[in-house]
C-alpha cells in the first residue's frame, strides 16, 4: 500500500506520493489552488493515477483549507497535525515549526514527534504570504522577482502591520522616490517581525524549522533568524510538509 497526501492551501495545492515502509517520497506535485478546490482536487487525482498505480493501491489523506473538497479522500486531517508530522519527517522530533502560508501563519510546537501546542494568526493577513503577494502586486512584481529585488535592497521600516494600511504606506514611500528593492526588503522584514511575535507567544521546543511556500526564500529565512536570534532551518521539500505529514498519518 502506498500513501498520498493532498494539501490544498489557500494559494498552492501540494500532493506527494509516499512509500511509508521505505520512508521515501516517490513523487511530488505543486500547482496553484485556483478558484475551485474541487477541480483542483480532481486534477491532483488525475496526476496521482498517472503515476502507474491503481486507486486501490493508494490510500489518500487530505488536509489544508480545501481539505473538504477532496471528496475521494480516505481520511481528512487538519493542517496543524499534518504540518507537524511532515516537519518531523523533514527536520526531526523536537521542533518549533513556523509555517507561513498564503492565508494562515502557524507556529507548531513539537516534542518527541508530537504536536503539543500551536498558534495561528487571527483573521488579519499581516504576517502571511498574502501580505507579500499584495505588496509585490503593488510593485508590479511576481513573487520570485520581488524576492530577487529585495535581496539587494536597503533596510527600511514599514510600520503598518495591516495589509491595507501598508499598501498606502508604500504608496507614500513610492511618492518619496524610495526604491522598489528597499520597499520589498522592508515588506519581508515586516512579515518576519509579525511572525516572530506569534512565535514568542509559545514556549518553543528544539530548533526552528520553516515550512510553506517561502522555504526557498533566503532573505526571509535570514530575517527570521536575525529577529529570533537563532538559526531557522528548512529544506526545499518543506513546502510539501503538510502533504508529507498527511501521507504519514
Amino acid at each position: 500500500m502506498l500513501y498520498a497526501g493532498i494539501d490544498i492551501g489557500s494559494t498552492a495545492a501540494k500532493a506527494v506520493l509516499m512509500d511509508r515502509e521505505q520512508n521515501k517520497i516517490l513523487a511530488r506535485k505543486l500547482m496553484p489552488s485556483g478558484w475551485n478546490s474541487k477541480e483542483t482536487a480532481q486534477e491532483l487525482l488525475t496526476w496521482l493515477l498517472s503515476l502507474g498505480y491503481s486507486r486501490e493501491e493508494i490510500k489518500i489523506i487530505a488536509t489544508g483549507y480545501g481539505r473538504v473538497s477532496v471528496q475521494y479522500a480516505d481520511k481528512v486531517l487538519t493542517e496543524i497535525t499534518c504540518h507537524g508530522r511532515g516537519a518531523v519527517f523533514l527536520g526531526g522530533p523536537d521542533l518549533t515549526v513556523i509555517d507561513i502560508g498564503g492565508q494562515d501563519t502557524k507556529v507548531i510546537v513539537i516534542k518527541n514527534g508530537r504536536v503539543i501546542d500551536f498558534a495561528m494568526n487571527d483573521k488579519c493577513s499581516a504576517g502571511t504570504g498574502k501580505f507579500l503577494e499584495v505588496i509585490a502586486n503593488r510593485l508590479g512584481l511576481t513573487l520570485p522577482e520581488f524576492f530577487a529585488l529585495a535581496e539587494n535592497g536597503k533596510d527600511i521600516k514599514i510600520s503598518s502591520m495591516c495589509t491595507v494600511f501598508a499598501e498606502s504606506e508604500i504608496v507614500s514611500l513610492m511618492g518619496l522616490g524610495t526604491g522598489r528593492e528597499d520597499i520589498a526588503r522592508g515588506a519581508v522584514d515586516s512579515v518576519a517581525s509579525k511572525v516572530v511575535t506569534l512565535v514568542r507567544q509559545k514556549n518553543h521546543s528544539g530548533k526552528f524549522f520553516l515550512t510553506g511556500g517561502f522555504c526557498e526564500s533566503k532573505l526571509l529565512i535570514q530575517k527570521l533568524s536575525e529577529i529570533l536570534g537563532a538559526e531557522v532551518e528548512t529544506t526545499p521539500d518543506a513546502r510539501f510538509a503538510g502533504a508529507i505529514g498527511a501521507a504519514l498519518l
Binding site: T78, I80, I116
Partner: protein, 380 residues
Amino acid sequence: MLRLPKNFETFNEARQKSFMSLYEAKQSGKKVIGTFCSYTPVEIIHAAGAIPVGLCGKSEQGIPEAEAHLPKNLCPLIKASYGMALSDQCPYFYFSDGILAETTCDGKKKMYELMSTFKPVHVLNLPQSKDQAFAIESWTEEIKRAAAFLEKLFNVTITEEKLHDAIVYRNRVRKAIVDLYEVAKLKPSPVSGYEISTVAESADFHFTDDDLVAKLEKITAEFKSRVRNDEGRPRVLITGCPNAGVRDKLIKRLEELGADYVCADVCSGPRAQKFMVDENSEPYRAIAERYLKINCSVMTPNTARFDDIKSLVKEYQVDGVIEMVLQGCHTFAVEAFNTMKLVQEGLNLPYLRLDTDFSQSDSGQIETRLGAFIEMMEVA
C-alpha cells in the same frame, strides 16, 4: 399603562409570541428585574416579589444598534446586551421594571450609565478584591442599598422572612443546576454538553408558575437514564468569558468534530452555581459572602479560579482545556496567560485559546483550530 413596543409589527412570529407571553405575565401582576451578571444577588429580587431575568446578549443581534452609542471595539456581550435593550427587541428587557447591575468590568459599568437614561438601573459597587475585610463589609452594605432600591421601586418591604425563603429557594435552584451539569461527570457523558448547557441556561427565564426545581430534576433524571456508546471521545473543559454567544460556532462545532464539552468553567456553570448561601446566619451578610466567592477575572487577585480549574479537570476527567476570550474583555484576556501556564505546565494537558466575537466571520478559522486541538488530544 402596559404597551407593546412601537416596532412590534416588524418582529417575526417567535419574537411576537415571547413579547405576548411576557405581556400577559405582566398584566397578571408579575414584576421583572433584569440582571446581567452572576454577581447579582437575585435573592433580594425574589424577596421583593419580582422575578430575576438574565439579559446578557447572546448573538450579533443588537450590535449594529449598540455601535451607534458604544465603541466598536467593546466586548460583544456588552454591545449585544445594550443594543437589544435600546432597540426594544428583547421582551425581557422591555417588560422589566428595573435593572440590577454591578460594577464588574469597566465596559459594563459605563454602559449602565447610558442604559439608565431609558430604564431604572441600580448599580451595586462590587469590590475589586475579596481578600480584605472591608470587601465583605462594603458588599453587604451594597446589597442592602440594592434592596432599598427594590423596596422603593415596588413599594414593598423586604422582610427577613421573605429573604430567608428566597435564599432557600435559590439554593434549591442552584443545587438542581449543579446536579444537571454533573450528569457530564459520567464517562462517556450520556448527553451532549450543548444540550446540558442549553437547558441549564434556560433556567434564567422562568416565568411560568410550575416548579423550576422539579422541572430541572426531571430533566436531570431523564439525562442520566440515557445511554451513549461514544467511548474514547476527548473530554473538554471550556473556561473564560460567558460563551452563550458563541454556542454554535464553538460548542456545537466542537462536539460535531468529535469531542465532548463536559465541563463549563463559565459564570453560568458550576463556577458560580456551586456556592450556596448559608441559610442559618444573618441573611444580608450570608448573601454577600456567597456572591463574593465567585471567581471572575474582574477580581484581583483571582487565584481561586485556578484551584477550581484544577479540581474540575479531575472531577470531570478532562483531556483538554479551551479558553474562550471575547474580543475586548481585558480581564480574561490578561488572565489567560496564567490559565495557559496552569493547564500546560501544572496539569500537563493541551490548552487552546480562542479570541472571538459573536460574528460568524471566523468560523472557518475556529473550525481548523478545534479540529487540530481534537487531533492533539487524541494522540496524547
